[in-house]
Symmetry: D3
Subunit: 280 residues, 6 copies
């Protein structure tokens, strides 16, 4: 069960409105790696967590924090849109300077949300549930979390340069710092899990269970011409878990057959004239 406090986690006070920036900021609210994503991802991972109290508690701690980040960004966007009006648009036809700004506005900020944040990205695409992952395998999911915080911080860093507004930048600096901490946090959890279970997900399907395919776990198939990739640490030396040595295959040949599928039952209405004996 959750509770809410009126104050924001961090202060959000923009120096002055900027509707074009409001449109861009939507990316880190409702985009693929926005705050809605990390919020829902950590909450679902926490809600679904089986076993391991320490991680479950930690996931709920940070998932709960992220709800507050969605709240902060809605507040930021509201302030950036402050004072905007549908009539500005009618003015735009007369004056290039106004038109320029109106052309950059998200029309849904006026028509749909009435000057509030939207559950969409910077191009207006609605946030959706396939942005998130909660697989029941902690190491797999923490790698997703580390990744999400990396993309999130990268996008905020880029946004940072899109404004000179000191009030906005102050909010972004908080977000950058938190995203930095969250990268540390997932790295620490990942290290702990890798030390316990090994570096390959899932550890419960070990190399020997791959049987005749086992050697494929060490081969680099060089399928794009040029061999610059030969110089990487993935092409030479030993795998991180010490189970094998890498092989760089320079001119790899297919190991399978050319597929020759059967002609289907006539009720599929394929209109093919060949006859083959169906396999069934």
């Amino acid at each position: 069960m959750f509770r809410h406090q009126k104050e924001l986690q961090f202060e959000v006070k923009v120096d002055k409105p900027d509707p074009m920036l409001a449109k861009q900021v939507q990316e880190v609210l409702g985009g693929q790696f926005g705050e809605m994503t990390v919020m829902m991802q950590y909450l679902f991972q926490g809600f679904n967590c089986r076993g391991n109290e320490k991680y479950k508690d930690m996931l709920m701690d940070i998932g709960t924090e992220e709800i507050g980040h969605v709240e902060m960004l809605c507040s930021l966007i509201s302030q950036l849109l402050d004072g905007a009006s549908p009539e500005d648009q009618a003015e735009a036809a007369k004056d290039p300077a106004t038109a320029a700004i109106m052309g950059g506005i998200n029309p849904q900020h006026l028509l749909v949300s009435g000057l509030g944040g939207l559950p969409t990205n910077s191009q207006g695409v609605p946030w959706n549930g396939n942005y998130i992952v909660a697989s029941g395998n902690l190491l797999a999911d923490m790698r997703s979390n580390l990744h999400a915080e990396s993309q999130g911080r990268l996008q905020v860093a880029r946004l940072y340069h899109m404004t000179k507004d000191e009030g906005v930048r102050k909010v972004f600096r908080k977000m950058l710092a938190r995203d930095r901490y969250h990268q540390y946090q997932w790295m620490e959890a990942i290290n702990e899990l890798e030390e316990k279970n090994g570096v390959v997900v899932p550890s419960s399907f070990p190399p020997e269970a791959e049987k005749e395919a086992q050697e494929e776990a060490y081969k680099f198939w060089d399928l794009s011409e040029g061999t610059a990739s030969k110089e990487g640490p993935w092409s030479q030396g030993t795998s991180p878990d010490g189970t094998g040595k890498y092989v760089h295959v320079e001119n790899p040949q297919p190991q399978g057959q050319a597929p020759n599928p059967n002609v289907p039952d006539p009720a599929l209405h394929h209109d093919l004239t060949e006859e083959k004996v169906p396999s069934k």
Copy 2:
């Protein structure tokens, strides 16, 4: 530019058809972490790669391999659907055993693809472009790649138990081995990049640029009751880059204001009766 060879990368020969399994296998073809995702993700990362020949070549090598994995899974699904017919469905009404199996079939395998693989997941949701990421920051993207291969291998490992068909399992073992190699590969690349640039993405926005927010990069906000999370390596000790020491904040208080946004212009038709001076 690309070229195609007729033979599959690995042999794909199922022992016997199994339309229910065909439906499940769609997850690793057209799902969030299926082969279409890694194929398109590595290709877009490679196409968009600026600088750094070694990584660009490597991305194109593996992206090109993954097109062939989509090809193999289409072949696998075609074989699992072999001999299925719309008429089986009409039979189902009469016989529970048939009905049981037909109930588990993806109707689009009959109606839409005529016994072929579909660009959808195991629930019929079409693959879409927001499954992938190509950000222009190599470390951020390689973390996504490591994560995608982790989820991918996890799902194939789970699928492995859904069938006793030795022919199918042989294909899965190849996929498990390749997903294992690809996890190694991205780990190696990540290690190399982290050594060069540090572990935080992006490295070009350093701690000192976060200014007054810098200390927030070391705090764990414990917002879910219970302090089990205090025992994790993210709550004590030094951050991996040695720039600060973690602080576990047990009863964190909000640092921001309670938001008090302005009442908008009447042309927004909010029907509010309060009047406030708009900020504009």
Copy 3:
């Protein structure tokens, strides 16, 4: 079965083209509460209506009217785009005034529809079937209809200020009047249904069927700090159907357990080390 007349329901004659406005108008054609939504919603409610001739006839009357509203908006958008050309875009690079206008154009109006209306919202997101509802419960659905007309009229009212074009405004005034009538219409139907069945949906699951949970139907859980919400009519007095008295719970405590789910079967590859007896 349907028939079509060539004339539009109302006259649509814009004073002069305005491609930026054409982009905004897409919201009320193909957006969440646009004409496509009410058209498809009323038609599906009418097609699926079981029993009750009066409502079924009424749903088909209005659903049929709404097809004509989609037609009117396509005509409006075509006129707003009249004379636009791909070459305007090439001009834009040279001249800020032109660039300003082109920047605000929906590129699909040129590239995809060739100056016609699109089945998308103002941000280009395609209309989709989950915008609509037809549940088989009339009161539930009429509440949706009243709501849709409220949002629809709100958006048209906002759009009204985005243009000074008297021809466009004349069309909007017709739409505003019809949306007003449709609000009346659904209110009348709702009143009639509420008088017959009571105000709670569905009425066929009465309070006493909620058994031990019944008292929860009158409690306000105050989970956000501050008690301003205590002053509302939902916190004091009697429920509209007279079945109970409201209780404002100021510091509500959880009534459930802390979840403690079982560790799954190893075939789920969760890589957890705890062992618990699975419940199965």
Copy 4:
């Protein structure tokens, strides 16, 4: 800012697992009117609320409660999936009884979430941001809220009959009671707002602003043959705000022109041979 308590709002203890039911329950978790929808809808309405402390507080109270409902449903689904295993699927090929059950399982509950709730509906479609509305007009939004709780309670009532499990039904009864309360709550708020501003949204665009179109606000256009709809309270009498009298138009004629749009610029490549003078 938010905080989390470990205990669930209400007790969730199923009598025994039922994976088929788990699939159905996804509808009220991640469907169009599931708990994710009301949670995100109330939170966004609260975050974006300008003015009016009483409503903002109330929205945050209930939005915060709904996060806990998502939590409860994840717990419910986890318990319904308890003990399920990928190997059950392999068994299914041999035994109709098992096959019957496996055919009804959501494969993503095994492959993707590892026995946890998913952010998708009962058909696997991911939850998305266009399920929700936060328009900045309180009356419009509260009508959406009343509607959402109506559909939500209707779906839970239907689900109630899909199981005989007393543990599950106990949870559903709590949800039915809360959905009943929430219907009361929005009704009370709606009444208060309608009394203050009138029943038409938005009230700030009054009848007289509709000018020449004003009479259209009282006409029923009977466009589907048959006049059963004439007997409804929307066809006779006075509008609820007393501004006009209804007119039932039995054989309504179009009032507009037949559209005759201009032939576009050749750069649109329409390949039409007619020439018309473009209007530009």
Copy 5:
């Protein structure tokens, strides 16, 4: 403007309910090539049609017919679902025969639509606007129409075998006949347009405007090993418009450069260490 008649275009009377079939039939109602698609596609093409009265009238004739096809399919699905009840699901746990059938039911037919048709395909994916096309070029669009009717008739033909119900089959035969007529219809229109303008879309961008690239319009690039494709009529002889002769290029070589993009501005935070002079 449109009008509605109460009777269906063709009789729809199923012999007996069949909820599994109802699920499959959704594909031809709300799928990629279902009746919603042709309805919306022809209406948008008609609404947006500029010039050419004959085609515009024809598009409106058939678009209007298709609304009635959506109506018929909703009626068909309602009848196939007749008598289904949520309680059947609770029974399913006890009896494999019932479970088999319930496993094949679309849960949304019970929970969401209350036994009515849904605006979704056979896998529950909502219909969406990017299924349709209305480009403003008649020949391009009529090719889409011919294609849509081909896929539509193919799917109905497959569905035909999924049932032995004579009542259902009678409806399907009407649909097959109409889809046949509609294929003729678009073929006739296509022939007429091709005779007037030539076979290439758009005709207004003629071969000579392709300049130095013109010869590429006759080359087959054989990029998949094996030369079976050499024997096709696309590899030998003259193009249908007589403008050139085909060339089968057996071992085609790339004609472009290896891309070598610039390293971006540091504000993109790519973390690359190479320095290149940005081009700007």
Copy 6:
């Protein structure tokens, strides 16, 4: 299995960057008829092709070519974005000319892809699997292919006028020529297939199998007032396969019943008061 060469199929060298054009070009990369669509469509058709080596080889030849077209467009977009920076956005607030250009930029080109191509259309909507078709019926699919190349070439022709950049136009001319060839190619294949099997898809459901419905395959239902459509070749003469003569029905009457569906089981909670005997 696939291989990659470093050089692009055709040279891609833009004269100078143009971020607004980059946004438009996304339509032909990741839009409904962009290169991602034809690439995935031909590959899936080739992967799923059963029987008929000549067509399978041809599909793989062209599918493989199209991967290289996605590559070329990513390169084109990267060059058009060259030198763009987040800081340009901050400048925009000060200067209308800059603002004009920034307003027209896709913010994801900065924030999400770091100056690379995106798997989205010109409005930011992600590419998705329901853009493509691979039905297992060659004639049906080749009609889709001809259509896709028609829309594709139309969009490129329109784009051609959106720039004066000779470098960009050179790339477009190659694309126009290839799209012209691909139109020829599918026409040739279609002719061959139609000669073998007849012009109606599927040919394996012949007129006589439509039984009592057969005559409906020759009737034009004139459901939109006006009879301009009577003059078309679809209203008079003989069907292309010579099986019947067209009939133009000027005032067509419904042939079906007015639907009168049963009232459902009370467990559906429809709250209807009528009682009818359920049919079950």
